[in-house]
């Protein structure tokens, strides 16, 4: 069972209290009608599917809020979690180890 830190509740809780919500930092297009088919494909369907550190969204069922996380998809270890709307943190060597 994963243990996940909710940055709003500031508490580390079991995975059952959370819902996974896919890759993070995929911005909705500002002007949807201007997009080409290829740009729609990239927005809707293409995913990084990183093997290693992966930026992703989770929702804490307890407080009902979405937040972002950086998790290593090989070890399933969470490197950090941060509030929605915050800039994507760069991966430091310290966090990667």
């Amino acid at each position: 069972m994963l243990l996940i830190h909710c940055p709003y509740c500031e508490d580390t809780l079991p995975e059952l209290e959370f819902t996974y919500a896919g890759e993070a930092h995929i911005a909705r297009p500002a002007d949807p009608s201007a997009l080409s088919d290829e740009e729609w494909r990239d927005f809707l369907f293409i995913r990084t599917n990183a093997r290693g550190p992966h930026y992703e969204r989770w929702r804490h069922i307890g407080c009902g809020r979405f937040f972002n996380a950086l998790r290593d998809t090989v070890s399933d270890r969470f490197l950090m979690t941060y509030k929605a709307g915050e800039a994507r943190p760069t991966l430091t060597n310290e966090a990667a180890e």
Partner: protein, 417 residues
């Protein structure tokens, strides 16, 4: 290659079984191949076999970072069926079923294909309507499937609990009698042996680090742990790791990789005659010839490459099994494991050409790749050899995510993915 037969078995028995030879050589890579296949699972090994047998292309290497059949081919619950809703899928999976029929004879290798029937249980009005629609759609496509009342379900599968007092009472079921199970390892071994006998090199423990492209953008080979291997064509059949391999060629994929878990019980005497799937409570179960109950779980909610998965899902699955089969409440589970399945947005496979010349892909089989093994292998070989898709896999393009011509088995799925 030693031909396996009752006679060869008898001959070896008299000889103390000391004369058996290795079934395929442990090949080292040559400098150049006509076709390199990345991933030595059932799909990749099968494609090599059909390339050699049906298209006369024998200068082929199948390369794997681990041992052959050690990925999803050896990690699934061995269920084979073709009762998919949409025309494209039903035809594709039924093509695979046709090939399963004579696979043991074709490969001279017993893959233990057992048509014991797959029964899908309906627990509510929605299930009943949805499955009856599947049955009707399948029959129009010439695919075997029929509807059973709950009493008929009980007669077909005696351990089933059809009491109206159950939390999710059984209201009937859809039965595909042509469906069943096969020995998954034997499928990989059988294809490997038959392909190697026709000159295919199987290179294990050799990770493909990158696909290399020439100045004109076409594929020229693969960089591996054992150095660069030149290739005219490269076919990627790497399941959960497809995104990573394709990324190295500069092609981003509409895939996400999730752990899919399964578990087996201690072995018991024959008790369970068929395969039963229940989508509402989400569990599927069969009994192996060794006697273990083979139980399939769902995918974890998060993407991962860990080949493990979390325990909450196992608990949920076992609870579902105990609900439908109270007889198994005291069974002890022996072991559980995970495989990494590559899932597309519409839950249908991608099998065909790519925008990169000389690069082909077979991926996105999600939670249902094993049943498709001979079909996917056969069609991948055709696509690579002819440089154009077979009519059966023509709809399963990568371009459908641009054009919007999806094959939305996600919405039609008989089982949650």
């Amino acid at each position: 290659m030693t031909h396996f037969s009752a006679f060869s078995l008898l001959k070896q028995a008299l000889n103390g079984h000391k004369g058996w030879r290795e079934q395929w050589p442990d090949s080292q890579p040559k400098a150049e191949y006509d076709v390199v296949i990345v991933g030595a699972g059932g799909h990749g090994l099968g494609a090599a076999y059909y390339l050699a047998k049906e298209h006369g292309i024998t200068n082929v290497a199948v390369i794997d970072k681990g041992w052959l059949g050690g990925g999803n081919t050896g990690r699934n619950t061995t269920i084979i069926r073709s009762n998919y809703l949409y025309d494209e899928s039903a035809k594709l999976y039924d093509h695979a079923l046709d090939l399963w029929d004579n696979l043991s004879q074709e490969l001279n290798y017993n893959v233990m294909y057992s048509k014991r029937g797959v029964l899908m249980l309906a627990h509510n009005v929605h299930d009943v309507q949805s499955f009856q629609r599947h049955v009707n759609s399948n029959r129009l496509n010439g695919v075997d499937n029929r509807w059973l009342s709950k009493e008929e379900c009980k007669a077909f599968c005696p351990p089933l609990n059809i009491s109206p007092d159950a939390r999710y009472p059984v209201m009937g079921g859809a039965l595909q009698m042509r469906a069943g199970t096969a020995r998954h390892d034997a499928v990989a071994w059988g294809y490997a042996r038959a392909a190697a006998a026709r000159g295919v090199d199987i290179i294990q423990n050799c990770a493909v680090n990158a696909i290399r492209r020439g100045p004109d953008g076409a594929v020229i080979g693969v960089d591996t742990a054992k150095g660069f291997i030149r290739a005219k064509k490269v076919a990627v059949s790497a399941a959960g790791n497809t995104s990573v391999v394709m990324d190295s060629a500069g092609l981003r994929m509409p895939l996400e990789s999730f752990p899919l878990q399964a578990l087996v019980s201690e072995p018991v005497k024959p008790i369970f005659p068929c395969v039963v799937m229940s989508n509402t409570v989400h569990a599927y179960i069969s009994q192996s010839d060794k006697g273990e109950l083979v139980i399939g779980s769902g995918t974890d909610q998060y993407t991962s490459y860990s080949q493990r998965g979390g325990l909450p899902l196992i608990e949920h699955t076992v609870a579902a099994i105990c609900e439908v089969f109270p007889i198994f409440t005291r069974m002890r589970m022996l072991r559980k494991w995970g495989g990494i399945v590559d899932v597309t947005p519409d839950r249908s496979a991608i099998l065909g050409k790519t925008p990169i010349k000389g690069l082909y892909v077979n991926c996105g089989w999600g939670t249902g790749g094993f049943k498709a093994t001979p079909g996917a292998a056969h069609l991948l070989a055709y696509t690579v050899a002819k440089d154009e898709p077979h009519p059966l896999n023509a709809p399963f393009t990568l371009e459908r995510f641009t054009t919007g011509r999806l094959i939305d088995e996600a919405a039609a799925a008989a089982v949650a993915h």
